[in-house]
Subunit: 335 residues, 2 copies
């Protein structure tokens, strides 16, 4: 199932569209085959997780990067290894969603009930562990230990980003630099790895891999900022998941960090009390009026612009064009 929000521009490049649609279908098959278990209780959970799959952003970026790295306008440069690595990236992402929902006590995800809300936190914790384990198991079958090292480093970084964020909850002194460090680790690292790995598996030279890593890192940071903006200012019925969790869980996000930075001491204590009272409506009104919601969006847009510039080092072609369009879509999306 190819999500229109991320891939609609693809239709303008027919061979590219076919390569991505076909590639993502293969990724879905690899994903589902990996999660087949001889235990019915486990299979039932695996099916539930498949419903979580949404934008398939990471696999899409891996496949597209694999094509862009050679300047190909079709899927000729894509191999089985690309599709397996794409499934690994998606599976790691899926594991983080399952555990994030436990951390956030979220009730809904992709318009469905979360595993934790249906089956309890214990099952959700163990299911996430099983997904991580399966991701590494699948990864080992690609047969190149360097890819295992790379995904291992990436997942280490992802968890460190989450741990850093958890250690700074309810902390009004959290600044923009630390926020960006959290975002870079917990979200952008995996996106960057998917992009550079796509290029690497296509045999691209180091500078092309590095350019795609940079593109992925910046796009990933922009993606997370947009996620945080939607958590604060989005419509639950449009986004399709529980919103307002950042405020509930004491996580400072960019619009609020910027709001606190520009506040007078008097305003600051007022804002802290709004945060303390978990008053999402009032907080949203504040970041809107102070312009820091727009400032956060502008930061995301400038990351996207710089992600697009990084692609100058990548061969010109329809895949590179599409990567640029996708970066724009990351901050345009409302869901």
């Amino acid at each position: 199932m190819v999500p229109p929000s991320i891939l609609s521009p693809v239709t303008r490049h027919a061979p590219l569209a076919a390569a991505i649609v076909g590639g993502l279908r293969d990724v879905e098959d690899i994903f589902a085959r990996q999660l087949r278990s001889d235990l019915p209780a486990v299979n039932e959970l695996a099916l539930h997780v498949e419903r979580y799959r949404g934008k398939m952003l990471r696999p899409t970026l891996l496949l597209l990067s694999g094509m862009a790295a050679t300047g190909a306008g079709d899927g000729a440069s894509l191999t089985k290894a690309h599709r397996m690595a794409a499934a690994v990236g998606e599976m790691i992402h899926m594991a983080t969603l399952v555990h994030d929902d436990v951390l956030d006590e979220a009730e809904t995800r992709r318009r469905g009930r979360t595993v934790n809300s249906l089956r309890g936190n214990e099952t959700a914790v163990m299911l996430g562990d099983w997904l991580i384990s399966n991701a590494f198991h699948l990864c080992s079958h690609i047969g190149d230990p360097a890819i295992n090292v790379l995904f291992g480093e990436t997942t280490n970084m992802l968890c460190e980003g989450e741990l850093l964020q958890l250690s700074r909850r309810e902390d009004p002194s959290l600044d923009e630099t630390t926020y960006m460090e959290i975002v870079r680790r917990k979200t952008a690292a995996l996106v960057a790895t998917c992009c550079s790995l796509g290029a690497r598996l296509s045999g691209a030279p180091d500078e092309v891999q590095a350019a795609l890593a940079l593109y992925g890192e910046r796009t990933g940071c922009a993606f997370q900022i947009q996620d945080d903006v939607l958590d604060l200012a989005g419509e639950e019925s449009v986004v399709g998941k529980t919103l307002g969790r950042d405020l509930q869980k004491g996580k400072a996000t960019l619009p609020v960090i910027l709001l606190l930075r520009q506040a007078t001491p008097w305003e600051r204590s007022e804002i802290l009390s709004i945060i303390h009272n978990r008053d999402g409506e009032v907080l949203l009104d504040r970041v809107r009026r102070a312009g820091t919601l727009d400032e956060a969006k502008a930061t995301a847009q400038s990351l996207v612009d710089s992600a697009k510039s990084a692609l100058d080092a990548v061969p010109a072609g329809p895949a590179r064009d599409l990567l640029r369009e996708l970066a724009d879509e990351v901050v345009r999306r409302q869901a």
Copy 2:
């Protein structure tokens, strides 16, 4: 730090003792080096986890199996790969402890406070993920993709055992066969992998690897039964962790499964109401009087006997002798 309970017999074989003590020290170093992070918040948690390390049963078995496989009486057959794999096994085990404590809402472990009780469930979930990720990252550095596949399969199985157990909580129809299937996956699989991998890394023939896998599987099952017996009948001050969790969390264990099996319909409904009321004292009295606590211990002992027999296919020598002594210790231990 070599725990006396598991390794005291070692002193009778001086070169073997030296190889294990030295080997475990290296394993501890590899473990600690792997968990070094550039984030102070993460390092602090890593130090806390190191305090969790107790018996080091899995690394000990891996090293001993590596020696037993060649009949060596010293550490000559042990390589860096043995020590790295031993650290991987311990790290996976440590991750399961951290997540188990979340699942069990446990307060103490190895006489210290659990991560969940100190820092909350969110941090404990993420810390466990970070440990799993680091285990696979370290594993990738051994450089043999087959070892990654093996540990991946093992961790998949471990999570499946936990998921099967979770799906059968509060279920009085859980029978001995399913209980043994849970135990085989959630505990014995990793022990078996450590044993067979030790042999494999020493270049042992397939039948020796298989014999050690069988030894590990049976020893692992016996270990878990003893754990469940201690959770029901142990002394908290001796065991050093929160007890009575199985009953609290609705997990049926062998003494209780056997009790229900031999009960008359009238007794059965009485026992189910004791379980429903979480009355650990009364339940303990029941399994004692009915003899099913002893029956569970006898099952563990017979698994140990059969584990020891499996070692007939392994070259004779002090390492094999010690593996047999260790198997006995697994059911003799009170902590």
